[in-house]
């Protein structure tokens, strides 16, 4: 036999829209619960990505400040050496890499190039983006190290 049980589970957030003028249909408008971003891996990664913008911006502001100080010559410039700042920088580097990774992976989805009338597979585009990124990083690193000497 079928059994039917009715249980009022926690009142979800939302509001019943009262009928305004007579026959307007009444609907229940659910609201997103505060913890909605914990429900799905994609939501979580998305929120993390959105929030990483804040520390990244702080770090970049600091960098601008440093550059401004450096413009007064070597005397006015001294690099921050506290362990906390190094840790902060490493974390922010991780965030920056995450953003770059998202952006470059997206490129494969978005960019639509044809070679001999055949669309280039997005995997190839993504790989070439990452390769270009790697090469650019090596070149910049080489230039910086070269100048430092």
């Amino acid at each position: 036999m079928e059994t039917v049980t009715s249980d009022v589970v926690k009142e979800p957030p939302g509001s019943a829209e009262a009928a305004s003028a007579g026959s307007a249909p009444r609907v229940y408008k659910p609201e997103m619960p505060l913890g909605w971003w914990l429900r799905q891996r994609h939501y979580f990664l998305y929120i993390v990505r959105e929030f990483t913008a804040l520390p990244l911006a702080l770090w970049l502001l600091w960098l601008l400040f440093e550059i401004q100080r450096a413009s007064t010559g070597p005397k006015g410039y001294y690099p921050p050496e506290s362990a906390a700042f190094v840790v902060f920088s490493v974390i922010v580097l991780g965030f920056a890499l995450y953003h770059s990774y998202t952006f470059l992976s997206l490129a494969g989805v978005i960019i639509n190039i044809k070679l001999l009338d055949k669309p280039i597979p997005s995997r190839v585009i993504v790989l070439s983006q990452f390769a270009a990124w790697f090469v650019a990083s090596v070149v910049i690193a080489a230039v910086l190290i070269g100048f430092a000497r």
Binding site: R26, Y28, Q40, I110
Partner: protein
Amino acid sequence: MAEKRITIRTTRFDPDKDKAPRLQSYDIPFADESMVVLDALNHIKAHVDGSLSYRWSCRMGICGSCGMMVNGIPKLTCNAFLRDYWPRSITVEPLSNFPIVRDLVIDMEDFMHKLKSIKPWIIRKQEYPLGAGEHRQTMDQIDEFRQFSECINCMLCYAACPVYGLNNEFLGPAATALARRYNLDSRDQGIKERLPVIADAEGVWECSFVGECSVVCPKGVDPAKAIQQTKLDTTMRFVLPYGNRDE
């Protein structure tokens, strides 16, 4: 052998009586390995509780009526198999991010307006006369827009999109994909008429790339791709000197 059973919990809401939705449990026979969540709902409606309301029709994943949240994930209930959940219970709720009309029935009028707003029809500067026969179109040209034309308007992508959940003004995944479908069609010349809607602040620029819309799409449409491509496209038209050319 004891009869196999499964517990289905579904949202119940009748605006005539209820202030807020509640969940009701039904313990029903899991009589056939081929049963899907929709079969379970049909069993409940036919044999246990005739007042349970939901939409369905084709039960072959093409009409787009039977989208619901199954254990928190937007799915077409006609191909969500009970065997993939059993012996756990299954919670069936109306699609997220939409107003609830009744039980599992959502209000999708908002999408119907958005669909019309993107002008989902072939727009030509000059009507091609019927007597001239068909436009020539190669299979490669069809491949340009094919996947975006496969949207069944099932609303799973809207239910998966937190941006839409937070801001109902957002044009959203399916409508953008369909706009892209027409913009990419070699027969169409209407992109300039669609741009004011799709390139609007509430259009593609509202999307911050969660990507879940493409994950839940039952038809392999990639709305996230349509949105990001549209961003690139509209930017190019804006910045490049020849970008705003007529096509």
